[in-house]
């Protein structure tokens, strides 16, 4: 499919993103507040439990924790929804012909929009906790881009697997729970042994979440090496997803439609 043919589907992408966003109760203020409730509650629980212990290691634990939670939440929600996309949209696939990955991308994008809104709520909170705006914040979109593209790539791969295997949802449930603990969402890396620290640092999720924290809280500019690495990883993830999608498109259709 050439670029010229692909172009009209930008419109479809935006349309579907809008629809996904509106439908998940987030078109209204009340719906949005509900989605805020989950991270807020987890935040309160973890904060009360760990402030005394982990507060020793990090200056602004509240800010550290909430940033970790919000972005982890985005990744988790987007991948879980993205994974089930083809099954959820089987009728759409039977009735219209368009590049299937758009459904996954728009699902992720819709979650991203609500995360962006959550961040908008977060900023005044950070201010309250003593975090001052700084020039590093201008690089936040770059981090967002890394996170978005890696999440899209992972979701696409998961969706392709889930179309073939019925138990993918459960498997991902287990893996993502493990990932939650293997990513420094509520604890800092420096409480770990050096070996474990090095291992966990290799995870792109760790890189991104910590990068965002550095940027938002400490006002640090990212290490260009890490940026290149993440850009490469994002491209790899998306590229692999798109390649496999093209390769297995008809097999997926057979599984989903028949």
């Amino acid at each position: 499919m050439g670029k010229k043919d692909y172009f009209p589907y930008w419109n479809l992408f935006w349309n579907m993103t809008r629809v996904e966003f509106k439908l998940r109760d987030q078109g209204t203020l009340l719906g949005f507040l509900w989605t805020l409730l989950h991270p807020a509650l987890i935040f309160i629980v973890l904060y009360i439990l760990f402030i005394k212990w982990l507060g020793h290691f990090i200056d602004q634990y509240a800010a550290y924790l909430i940033i970790g939670l919000l972005f982890w939440n985005f990744f988790h929600k987007a991948t879980c929804l993205g994974l089930a996309t083809f099954k959820r949209r089987a009728l759409l696939m039977r009735n219209y012909k368009f590049p299937r990955e758009i459904m996954v991308f728009s699902t992720v994008a819709a979650v991203f929009v609500s995360t962006a809104l959550e961040i908008a709520v977060l900023v005044p909170l950070l201010w309250l906790w003593g975090v001052k705006p700084n020039w590093a914040w201008t690089l936040l979109p770059l981090w967002a881009l890394f996170l978005l593209s890696i999440t899209m790539g992972v979701s696409l791969l998961l969706a392709i697997l889930a179309a073939q295997f019925h138990d993918m949802e459960r498997i991902w449930d287990v893996i993502s729970t493990a990932l939650f603990y293997l990513t420094p969402v509520f604890y800092p890396l420096n409480i770990l042994s050096d070996r474990n620290k090095a291992l966990l640092s290799a995870s792109p999720l760790t890189m991104i979440i910590n990068g965002i924290r550095d940027c938002l809280i400490s006002g640090l500019f990212p290490d260009p090496k890490i940026c290149w690495l993440l850009a490469g990883l994002s491209a790899l993830c998306l590229g692999a997803g798109l390649f496999l999608m093209r390769r297995y498109e008809h097999r997926i259709a057979d599984m989903i439609i028949s």
């Binding site: 509106k22 009735n95 012909k97 057979d254």
Partner: protein, 625 residues
């Protein structure tokens, strides 16, 4: 993809086959299950061929129909041509933009507005935003959803909802259009609009493939049809032939015929039945068949008010009749502004009496309406003579076509006559006859029966989807079943009905034994009564009340009915109109005290009827309370 130069080919299907893996485990394949199979080296899957060895070529501007039973592979074929599924063997090439019209509404969002869904649907069909904006007015106009743009999509009915994606798809500038039972949900008007637009699209060089169970539509739209059977091409060629083969294979009677067949068959049967009745009445004068007693009366009265008729009935004109009549009669008269003038019945004949008629004649009297109901009969010849001498129209009304007077069937005496019979009280396939003495009434009848609707296809097609047209179709045309009933009634009237006469005699003989309890009608000696009911009047002074008798009969499982209790005349609706003598003693008692016994009951139930009545009358009944 572009078509090979100058070939004009739009779709090319070569040795096309599609298989699916099925098997218990494969219904919900799991990663763990797959690992398990790798370890064990087994494969529980079976191959199911949904489609095999399909070959055809379509050029631009061609329409192909696809028919076949459920599971024959029709939808799979469309999915393959749309390239949503890929072939397992062979090739399918589609030169141009395509998208299948399946349940296009499937992808739309019930919670969003209609307008938002138009936009989403356009995006799904790959319409560019600029093109969508340009076409939006046209799309909305085609869909007829202009008033619903801001309603939620799920607030639309199924039929309306289906219009949205269909209208959008029609405007999507697709080169190859694949339609799968899409038209099934739209109403008649929208369906014909869609059919027209298919023909327009074909004229523009678009290629259309229609999958449908609607064989009429396939025949109408597609010159060529592919008949799929168990995944193979059973026949490809002329649509009529394909449909016939399919019908034969399905073992279904071809009861869905083209409207033209239905009309010609209906007209032929109508003529045949009319000829049968003309033979019965032994005359060639106009005779029309309508669908019920009351619609035949309606045709009769309307023809007498026709502007082209000399001496026609005008509003304010009086018509003399008896109150012992059908409830609807006075209503029909009133609806033309005619004034019913009621005269009481003769207690002997239960019908109109010449002397009373004479005394009721007035300045504005223009017609006499003579009703022969419930086995009663008036001295028709004398009344007809009076009408002729006074220049009055004589309208005959009877619910027993077999009755005779002076050896001529009732209905032969009036200037216009309406006859009718319902096979049973609840049967919708009733029929009625309208007769006239003057040949000129023939054209009046024909015009009236055509109705304002004009379109015979619509009027005659009783299986029409539109309930409004169905209703109109039943009025006044009789259904095919109605015509059949009419035919049967003609045949049974022609056969000597000696059994009915015998039954009447038996009833007469029985009730004559209790002169203090009952009165039975005494028709003039010239009359022969073949009414399927025997009527008897319970005297006001009788031992038992009418409800009491009915109750007793009911408990003994004997059928008997009362006459029209709910008559508008009884309720005083018509008492003000042209009443010149308010003494309706006999008519009132007929309405209140009359019982009707079905004639066939004597034949079927033997002496039970009489024994049961005798039990009551001689107070031997065990349930006498």
């Amino acid at each position: 993809m572009h078509s090979p130069k100058n070939s004009g080919i739009a779709v090319q299907v070569e040795n096309l086959g599609k298989s699916f893996l099925i098997g218990a485990e494969n219904r919900h394949p799991t990663l763990l299950g797959r690992l398990n199979r790798w370890v064990r080296g087994t494969s529980p899957q079976k191959i199911l061929w949904a489609l095999q060895e399909i070959n055809f070529e379509l050029r631009r501007g061609e329409i192909l129909g696809v028919i076949g039973a459920n599971g024959a592979g029709k939808s799979t074929l469309l999915l393959l041509i749309a390239q949503i599924l890929s072939p397992s063997e062979g090739q399918v090439r589609a030169y141009g933009r395509t998208s299948p019209f399946f349940q296009l509404s499937a992808g739309l969002q019930p919670e969003l507005t209609v307008l938002e869904n138009f936009s989403l649907c356009a995006a799904l069909l790959g319409i560019r935003p600029a093109a969508f904006k340009k076409n939006l007015d046209g799309i909305i106009a085609f869909s007829g959803l202009k008033d619903y743009l801001y309603a939620k999509y799920n607030e639309l009915s199924t039929g309306l909802a289906a219009r949205l994606p269909f209208s959008t798809a029609i405007h999507a500038d697709l080169d190859i259009i694949l339609v799968d039972e899409m038209l099934a949900v739209g109403d008649q008007a929208f369906q014909s609009k869609c059919k027209r637009s298919f023909l327009d699209l074909r004229a523009q060089g678009k290629t259309i493939i229609i999958v449908s169970h609607n064989l009429d539509m396939i025949r109408e739209l597609c010159p060529t049809t592919l008949y799929l059977k168990n995944g193979g091409a059973s026949y490809l060629g002329d649509s009529e032939e394909a449909v016939q083969l399919y019908i034969r294979d399905m073992g279904i009677a071809s009861n869905k015929r083209a409207p033209a067949d239905v009309i010609s068959e209906h007209l032929a049967l109508r003529q045949k039945v009319a000829a049968c009745w003309q033979g019965w009445f032994r005359r060639q004068e106009p005779l029309a068949i309508s669908d019920s007693f009351i619609s035949s009366l309606w045709v009769a009265i309307t023809s007498l008010t026709a502007p082209s008729l000399a001496g026609r009935l005008k509003p304010g004109d009086e018509i003399i009749t008896t109150p012992f009549n059908y409830p609807g009669v006075a209503g029909v008269l009133k609806s033309y502004g005619l004034v019913p003038v009621f005269i009481d019945v003769d207690p002997r004949t239960f019908n109109m009496n010449e002397e009373r008629l004479k005394s009721a004649l007035g300045e504005r009297t223009r017609a006499v309406l003579l009703a022969h109901l419930a086995g009663s009969c008036a001295p028709i010849d004398r009344i007809a003579q009076l009408c002729r001498s006074q220049g009055l129209w004589l309208i005959e009304l009877n619910n027993s076509v077999a009755d005779k007077y002076q050896e001529r069937p009732l209905g032969c005496f009036g200037d216009v006559s309406a006859c009718g019979l319902m096979p049973s009280l609840a049967d919708p396939h009733a029929w009625g006859l309208v007769l006239a003495r003057e040949a000129s009434f023939g054209t009046l009848f024909a015009e009236l029966l055509k109705t304002g609707y004009g379109d015979e296809i619509r009027v005659l097609d009783h299986r029409h989807d539109d309930p409004l047209i169905q209703t109109l179709g039943r009025r006044p045309w009789p259904t095919m079943q109605g015509l059949d009933e009419c035919q049967r009634a003609c045949e049974s009237s022609t056969n000597s009905p000696s059994a009915i006469i015998r039954a009447h005699k038996e009833y007469q003989g029985f009730f004559a034994r209790y002169p203090s309890e009952f009165m039975i009608p005494e028709p003039p000696p010239e009359a022969e009564i073949f009414t399927p009911y025997f009527s008897v009047l319970v005297r006001e002074t009788a031992t038992f009340s009418v409800p009491r008798i009915l109750n007793h009969l009911y408990l003994n499982k004997i059928k008997a009915y009362r006459y029209f209790d709910g008559h508008g005349w009884l309720a005083g609706h018509f008492t003000q109109s042209g009443v010149r003598n308010s003494d309706f003693k006999h008519s009132l008692s007929l309405h209140r005290q009359m019982l009707l016994f079905p004639i066939e009951q004597v034949r079927d139930a033997g002496n039970n009827v009489f024994n049961s009545m005798a039990d009551l009358l001689e107070k031997r009944s065990p349930i006498d309370c």
